[in-house]
């Protein structure tokens, strides 16, 4: 069955309504929208791709915990014990191989090696190496698959984050969540298919700016763009009625509005009017479904304990993780969290410790919570940033303090849940965590793999724009079967 058929958010209902508009009364429409619309929407939808999913999906939805700013793989995941012995010595040219550096350090007089100051240990049956900064993640290590061989092309934040989100470094392409809402729609008629949430890291309280394009729809119709849930004011902009208008008054207004629009529809026959009537009804339903979703008052104390004390504070990463689970329970297709503050050019230890306090417990709790609710079976969870960090020190190197510049050549991302080979590690880097020595995974490959988990052949989810059939993975991307169960 076409899952789009359930989702009045997505399809352009013009074709369907064109057939029925004149015969359709408001009451009938209301029934149609509140009841079972399946099969009623014409598959001959102007925008929607057909034939999806292409094959049996392992996952129905994705929660992507984006760590913006680029967490240091060297201090969290990619254990390089030998570096302690060469602490402070110059990064060998044989490792760097003339690869480009950012303008922030390319003029540095020297490139001293900075070993991680943190202890690492192996965890779980799979024996994954994790640093002491991630004690909670360590406890769910056997649910995770660590990919240590991610690599990207961009060396600065904006193009790199944009690349991760859209498959291109420059603005203009649809974000991954938009591709999924275009391709698969949502499972919930009253909620958007793609929700984004932002939190500020405490490690670096001003970095890094984010941009609406990261959840934008690019050249896809704007109805596929992610809806940003906010922690201040209305969770969705303009959700609340203005002061002095309560829900009952709004309902009455909508009845009158519907009646007047129906008169217009009867007289003019333009199916856009019928669509507008339907969208107002949907807006009204969102006015109750979204607050119901974002109010966590019904969660037991044990849940807050699990996600950590910050989960009671709206707008924190932990609170957003809890909301992500609630969205996931309600069938939202793609939930993406953006946690800022991972750009540790200087004072890395002090900053990264704060970042890990923000994220470690809640990330692990989310995985465990999904698991205990049976949702991990059909939910894919992804955790990672836009590139890695250099083994050499940026700025002053002391025993306890160092900084790291941007490093696109290798970094770590973990995945969990539906379709993922849990408790494993994939890919290898050299002794300096500078180059990949086995099983490289490009950003396009990760995208292809995420789509594959959702039953999508990444070469076949396309949209024609300016003469070209565009896709998320551009002209590349290989599904990484090694991380799939």
């Amino acid at each position: 069955m076409d899952p789009r058929a359930q989702n009045p958010w997505l399809p352009d209902r013009r074709r369907f309504l064109a057939h029925s508009a004149s015969a359709l009364g408001t009451a009938a429409l209301a029934t149609l929208l509140s009841g079972d619309a399946r099969g009623a929407v014409s598959p001959d939808d102007a925008d929607a791709p057909s034939g999806l999913p292409h094959f049996k999906p392992r996952a129905k939805r994705v929660i992507y915990l984006f760590q913006s700013g680029a967490p240091s793989q060297l201090d969290l995941f990619d254990y390089k014990p030998a570096l302690r012995d060469v602490q402070g010595s110059e990064l060998p040219d044989s490792v760097r191989k003339g690869q480009r550096l950012t303008g922030m350090t390319s003029r540095q007089a020297s490139f001293p090696i900075a070993a991680s100051k943190y202890r690492f240990a192996q965890h779980g049956q799979g024996g994954a190496w994790l640093s002491e900064l991630l004690p909670h993640t360590a406890r769910v290590a056997d649910e995770l698959c660590f990919v240590k061989s991610l690599h990207t092309e961009a060396i600065n934040h904006d193009p790199a984050v944009t690349f991760f989100q859209t498959g291109a470094q420059l603005a203009g392409r649809p974000s991954i969540g938009s591709w999924l809402s275009y391709g698969l729609g949502s499972e919930n008629r009253d909620l958007p298919a793609f929700v984004a949430m932002i939190s500020q890291g405490s490690g670096n309280p001003t970095d890094q700016p984010l941009y609406d394009r990261l959840w934008g729809s690019g050249f896809l119709p704007s109805k596929y763009q992610g809806v940003k849930f906010r922690s201040v004011g209305d969770p969705v902009l303009n959700l609340s009625n203005p002061p002095g208008i309560d829900s009952r008054a709004r309902r009455a207004m909508l009845n009158d509005l519907g009646a007047l629009n129906q008169l217009k529809l009867d007289a003019f026959g333009d199916p856009e009017i019928a669509t507008r009537i339907a969208q107002y009804e949907l807006a009204f339903r969102m006015q109750s479904s979204v607050p119901e979703l974002t109010s966590v008052a019904d969660e037991p104390a044990s849940v807050f304990e699990m996600y950590g004390p910050e989960s009671r504070t709206p707008g924190t990463f932990a609170a957003n993780c809890l909301l992500a689970r609630r969205l996931c329970e309600r069938g939202v297709r793609f939930v993406q969290l953006f946690h800022r503050g991972w750009d540790q050019h200087v004072h890395l230890p002090q900053q990264i410790e704060a970042q890990c306090r923000d994220t470690d417990q809640a990330s692990a709790a989310l995985v465990a919570d999904l698991k205990q609710r049976g949702l991990l079976d059909d939910t894919l969870v992804v955790w990672g940033g836009e590139f890695g960090r250099t083994v050499y020190c940026q700025g002053k190197l002391t025993r306890d303090d160092y900084g790291r510049d941007h490093h696109p050549r290798c970094f770590t991302v973990w995945l969990a849940g539906a379709g993922i080979r849990a408790g494993t590690t994939y890919g290898q880097t050299d002794d300096h965590s500078y180059n990949i020595t086995a099983d490289p995974v490009h950003v396009h490959d990760l995208h292809a793999t995420i789509l594959a988990c959702l039953g999508i052949d990444h070469t076949r989810l396309t949209f024609k724009f300016q003469g070209r059939h565009h896709r998320l993975t551009d002209v590349r991307g290989q599904v990484v079967n090694g991380i799939l169960a």
């Binding site: 958010w9 074709r15 064109a18 057939h19 004149s22 057909s50 034939g51 950012t102 303008g103 922030m104 350090t105 003029r107 060396i155 600065n156 934040h157 904006d158 420059l170 603005a171 932002i198 500020q200 890094q208 700016p209 984010l210 941009y211 609406d212 394009r213 704007s222 201040v232 004011g233 969705v236 902009l237 303009n238 959700l239 609340s240 009625n241 203005p242 002061p243 002095g244 208008i245 309560d246 008054a249 207004m253 009158d256 007047l260 629009n261 008169l263 003019f268 026959g269 333009d270 856009e272 507008r276 969208q279 107002y280 807006a283 969102m286 800022r340 076949r460 300016q466 003469g467 070209r468």
Partner: protein, 1046 residues
């Protein structure tokens, strides 16, 4: 997807009736033949019948799209991807003998290898290959088969053939056409056996054309004037009035700003503010003055290169500086320098050529005849700007110019005249001054030495005269002279150094990587550092020559607040020094909380030797004043010399001292006047907005083919040129000006078509070529090819007169049709491509807000100026950037037209985006119209629209009598132009009465509603009644019709 692609293809380029019964309709075929018989070239006409005779298969319309979409990727223009050396985009290659077989043998399906391959059941042979992800439908194979059988006639791609002026076709209903546009539309309708819709009623028409030409709804008075005007030219006069309205240019500019990717910030991560509104205002004025489109083009693409370019022409050239600029720390500037040029090529090609040339950045174009080399030839036109890859974080990136408004230009002229007069007056007093000085100095004597220096801009002074700076000792001067990168400043001192390295003064921590500013000796050279980050965010300038050690000398440095190394000057003993720029990368302020230190500070060693008369001025002192500081002699000492024995510097110092302290009052007053006027002029000039412009390097930068489009992989060197598939550039010295003139050459096949097509899109919702941004092989063929050519040639023939062309469009019977539609008509032509009815579609994002403001009476119709900050959800910027929010404006700026709203590229105004505005990160000429619940929420609840509803209610209460029907009718008319029907009025009245009763029960709710937005509610009005009308107004503003042109 594949299937969908085909379906779209069929839908988009044929617009065929769906009824299979039409297939063999002899009437239909006869009609088609008749029209051909009158020798009218309408390419699309042959599509009038469901089934076409074989000979009706037209290459451009039917065949090329199939080949392009399915075959060109491997058998097209891209030489690198080409398989089996076969091209299906070139006739000769497609019909050439290849080892005894030919891909296409005209008339012989059985001998055509192409046909064999596309119908083969062997997956090894089948084309396109399954791995390509492409598949031909049975219908497409049938098209190709019929075309080959009929002779496989080839045509050049239609868009590359210059338009010939077609003769408007004759039609049966001769009384319907109002102008030639209608003949083309009607001929097609008649061929389709469709009849045009009746003319829309006059009220609808007045609203439609007013919205289209001004972006605002007509007032009830304007509607009444038109409806009751029964003169024959009433409509023409209405149109003329609208075209002459200053609102016309604003409406036109809105879409042009999308195309030009205009914004008020620079985009990318930092997304700091920039100042380009002078360019935006130029565009609005150009549309209002009906600047001919060829001139409009030339000035925007190459205004800077016009002979004796005026300020306006230079401002216009900012079109190609509107692209984003990356100022993120650590970027590799060369990478982004390339992106800017690519953006210019891409934007220029999209806006004027309607071509997707950008595809050829990394490889030969896969569908259209553009090689990668040709892309970089276009690149070379735009690669000569003296710019950096790393953009300025806050403000405009060079090159930019001061761009005073007309009012400021007048102010400057007046001030300059005053200043010249004052200088003249002072000069008149020269004789008196010299005589006075001579008398005074002859009589002057002093028991103690009298040091003196000018002090107009003095900030701090430290007469140290201390010789014991030994490399360890520094003087903490406290929190003074905390300059930032926009500040002008002068640092100066007398020094006798004992070592060639040491810091003279600094506001900078004494540690590595500290930020701030410093003046120091470095290896003997006098060096200035203005530092945010030592390696890549700093200005570092030093003297070319080392200074003498152990010699007393005066050193000074000035900085003009320009953030550029060029704004730093170094002086030794009063003389400007040749300098070396070591770093010119300052992008953030170097202001710090560190104290000012003398003899040290910063990471380097402290000073050794003598320091005296350290002083800081809060401006960049001119050279002659620096010379005064560098003249150590005291006034008494100078006076004691015979005038003939004084050096020039001594004389100058004496003169300055006398002028400042002892000259007769009239002379001092005259001097004061000159100084004050000069300062006023400087202040005025500093207040001028700047604007980024195009400019050419004296020696053009070399351009290369970039392998795979990568900035660091230069290949073959190229020079500026245009693609071979387009007309040649008629000049031997290709530059941007030549390119601009080439674009608007009347013989150019694309420019005029592309422009009229976008105007058509603006009025009818869809272009005649639906893919407004792709006139290439992958684009949609025109629905009315001859009409497109007529309009294009008409535009050129009219002298590129945009107003005249729009007058023709909105005057046509086609445009004036009613937009009502029956289910049958909808079934037949759901997207209204045949135009058997008038346009009906949702407003643009700008129009939705502007129309609500207009109806409510809140709209402030004021032209131009800096962009404004209307209501914005609190925390919107902060939650994404961690920085501050926009400071919301108050008063009139809340109600300006939406095109004046401050546009932050990475966090766009949310309601604008909800209504499908273009994001402005890149060029966009497509128009999107979605219909979503977020739109409903915005219209119902957003402060702008709630306030508008409230003020609309207030307006109708104030402007009419007390009868609810009367008030509701006026509100309805203000929004929709028409009067409500009885049924509509009944619903609205009962809504009002119900709400009124509820508010009477709960007056607090009414009061709360009346506090939404900053416009005050009229205290004299009954609050409950006003609130009830506000809810009715909210209801009206939310009607589908309220946001729809119909």
């Amino acid at each position: 997807m594949r299937a969908r692609g085909c379906r779209n293809l069929m839908l988009d380029h044929s617009i065929r009736p769906r009824r299979p019964s039409a297939t063999h309709d002899p009437e239909c075929r006869r009609a088609s033949a008749t029209i051909r018989a009158v020798a009218i070239v309408i390419a699309t006409l042959a599509a009038t019948c469901g089934a076409l005779a074989d000979e009706d298969r037209q290459f451009n319309r039917d065949v090329r799209p199939i080949l392009s979409d399915n075959c060109f990727q491997c058998h097209g223009p891209d030489s690198a991807q080409r398989k089996a050396e076969l091209r299906l985009d070139v006739e000769a290659s497609a019909k050439r003998d290849r080892d005894g077989s030919r891909p296409i043998v005209p008339g012989r399906l059985d001998e055509s290898a192409l046909y064999a391959r596309i119908t083969s059941t062997d997956p090894e042979l089948r084309m396109p290959p399954p791995t390509s992800g492409k598949k031909l439908s049975a219908a497409q194979i049938d098209v190709l088969a019929r075309w080959i059988r009929a002779g496989a006639a080839w045509e050049r791609h239609w868009a590359f053939i210059p338009p010939q002026r077609p003769v408007p076709p004759s039609v049966q209903r001769r009384d319907w056409p109002r102008n030639p546009i209608d003949a083309f539309i009607l001929a097609r309708l008649e061929a389709e056996q469709l009849a045009p819709a009746p003319e829309a009623d006059r009220t609808t028409l007045a609203r439609r054309v007013t919205l289209d030409l001004t972006g605002l709804p007509p007032t009830p008075a304007e509607v009444d004037a038109f409806v009751t005007d029964d003169s024959a030219d009433a409509y023409q006069r209405l149109v003329d009035r609208l075209l002459a309205s200053p609102r016309f240019g604003e409406q036109m500019a809105a879409r042009w700003l999308d195309a030009a990717r205009y914004a008020d910030t620079s985009g990318y991560q930092t997304d700091g503010p920039r100042v380009m509104w002078r360019w935006r205002d130029w565009v609005i004025e150009a549309f209002n003055h009906n600047l001919a489109f060829d001139r409009f083009t030339i000035e925007q693409l190459a205004g800077d290169l016009l002979p004796a370019a005026t300020l306006d022409e230079r401002i216009a050239s900012g079109f190609n500086r509107n692209h984003r600029g990356n100022s993120e720390g650590g970027i590799i500037p060369e990478e982004y320098a390339v992106e800017y040029v690519v953006d210019r090529v891409d934007t220029t090609a999209t806006v004027w050529l309607g071509l997707t040339v950008a595809c050829a950045r990394c490889h030969d174009h896969k569908f259209d005849p553009f090689s990668q080399r040709e892309f970089y030839q276009l690149f070379a036109f735009f690669n000569n700007v003296p710019e950096k890859g790393r953009a300025i974080k806050v403000g405009n990136s060079p090159p930019f110019i001061k761009a005073p408004t007309r009012h400021q230009q007048q102010q400057l002229q007046a001030l300059e005249a005053q200043r010249l007069a004052a200088e003249h007056a002072l000069a008149q007093l020269e004789g008196e001054l010299a005589a006075g000085e001579s008398r005074w100095s002859a009589g002057f004597s002093s028991a103690t030495p009298l040091p003196w220096a000018p002090s107009d801009h003095l900030l701090a002074q430290f007469p140290l005269n201390e010789n014991d700076f030994d490399g360890t000792r520094t003087v903490n001067a406290g929190d003074v002279a905390n300059f930032g990168y926009f500040d002008r400043l002068t640092l100066s001192a007398w020094i006798r150094p004992r070592a060639d390295t040491g810091t003279i003064m600094a506001r900078m921590a004494e540690q590595a990587d500290a930020e701030g500013y410093s003046l120091q000796l470095a290896g003997g050279r006098l060096q200035v550092n203005l530092v945010k980050r030592w390696l890549d965010d700093a200005v570092r300038v030093e003297t070319a020559e080392p200074l003498a050690i152990d010699r007393l000398q005066h050193v000074a440095v000035t900085y003009d607040g320009s953030r550029a190394a060029a704004g730093v000057k170094i002086f030794v003993d009063g003389r400007p020094q040749a300098t070396r720029i070591l770093l010119d990368e300052l992008n953030q302020s170097f202001s710090t909380s560190e104290p000012l230190r003398l003899g040290g500070g910063g990471p380097g060693p402290a000073f050794r030797g003598l320091l005296d008369e350290v002083r800081i001025d809060k401006t960049d002192l001119p050279t002659d004043e620096i010379a005064l500081l560098a003249t150590r002699d005291t006034i008494d000492a100078i006076c004691s010399l015979a005038p003939a024995d004084r050096t020039r510097a001594q004389s100058a110092k004496l003169r300055a001292y006398y002028l400042a302290e002892h000259a007769p009052q009239p002379i001092r007053a005259a001097r004061k006047q000159v100084l004050e006027l000069a300062q006023q002029q400087r202040d005025l000039e500093e207040s001028f907005p700047t604007t980024m412009v195009m400019q050419e390097l004296p020696v053009p930068r070399e351009s290369f083919v970039l392998v795979r489009g990568q900035y660091d992989k230069p290949g073959e060197r190229v020079t500026a040129g245009v693609p071979a598939s387009l007309p040649p550039l008629p000049t031997t010295s290709p530059d941007r000006l030549a390119l601009a003139r080439w674009l608007v050459d009347p013989a150019h096949p694309l420019t005029a078509r592309v422009i009229v097509n976008r105007l058509w899109q603006a009025h009818f919702g869809t272009g005649l070529v639906k893919t407004v941004d792709d006139f290439g092989a992958q684009g949609d063929p025109p629905s009315h090819a001859a009409l497109l050519d007529w309009l294009a040639t008409e535009l050129v023939a009219s002298g590129w007169n945009l107003k005249a062309l729009q007058r023709a469009i909105v005057s046509s019977a086609t445009y004036r049709q009613s937009s009502r539609v029956t289910p049958r008509e909808l079934e037949r032509d759901p997207d209204n491509r045949l135009l058997a009815r008038g346009p009906r579609f949702r407003f643009s994002a700008e129009m939705i807000r502007d129309a609500s403001l207009a109806a409510s009476g809140l709209l402030v119709e004021e032209f131009g100026g800096p962009s404004v900050h209307p209501y914005q959800p609190p925390g919107l910027w902060k939650e994404l950037t961690g920085g501050g929010d926009a400071t919301q404006d108050h008063g009139a700026n809340l109600y300006r037209r939406s095109l004046y709203t401050f546009w932050k590229r990475t966090i766009q105004p949310p309601s604008m985006m909800t209504f499908d505005a273009s994001g402005r990160e890149a060029c966009s000429v497509r128009v999107a119209r979605t219909n979503t619940p977020l739109q409903a929420l915005a219209l119902m609840n957003e402060v702008t629209f709630v306030e508008a509803a409230r003020m609309l209610a207030q307006r109708v209460m104030q402007e009419t009598g007390p009868a609810p029907s009367e008030r509701i009718t006026l509100a309805f008319r203000l929004v929709l132009a028409r009067r409500p029907s009885e049924q509509e009025l009944r619903i609205l009245r009962s809504s009002f009465e119900r709400r009124l009763a509820e508010f009477r029960e709960d007056p607090a709710a009414a009061a709360a509603l009346l506090h939404v937005g900053e416009a005050p509610a009229a205290a004299a009005l009954d609050a409950c009644e006003l609130a009830a009308y506000a809810t009715v107004a909210n209801l009206i503003l939310n009607l589908d019709e309220a946001v729809t042109k119909e």
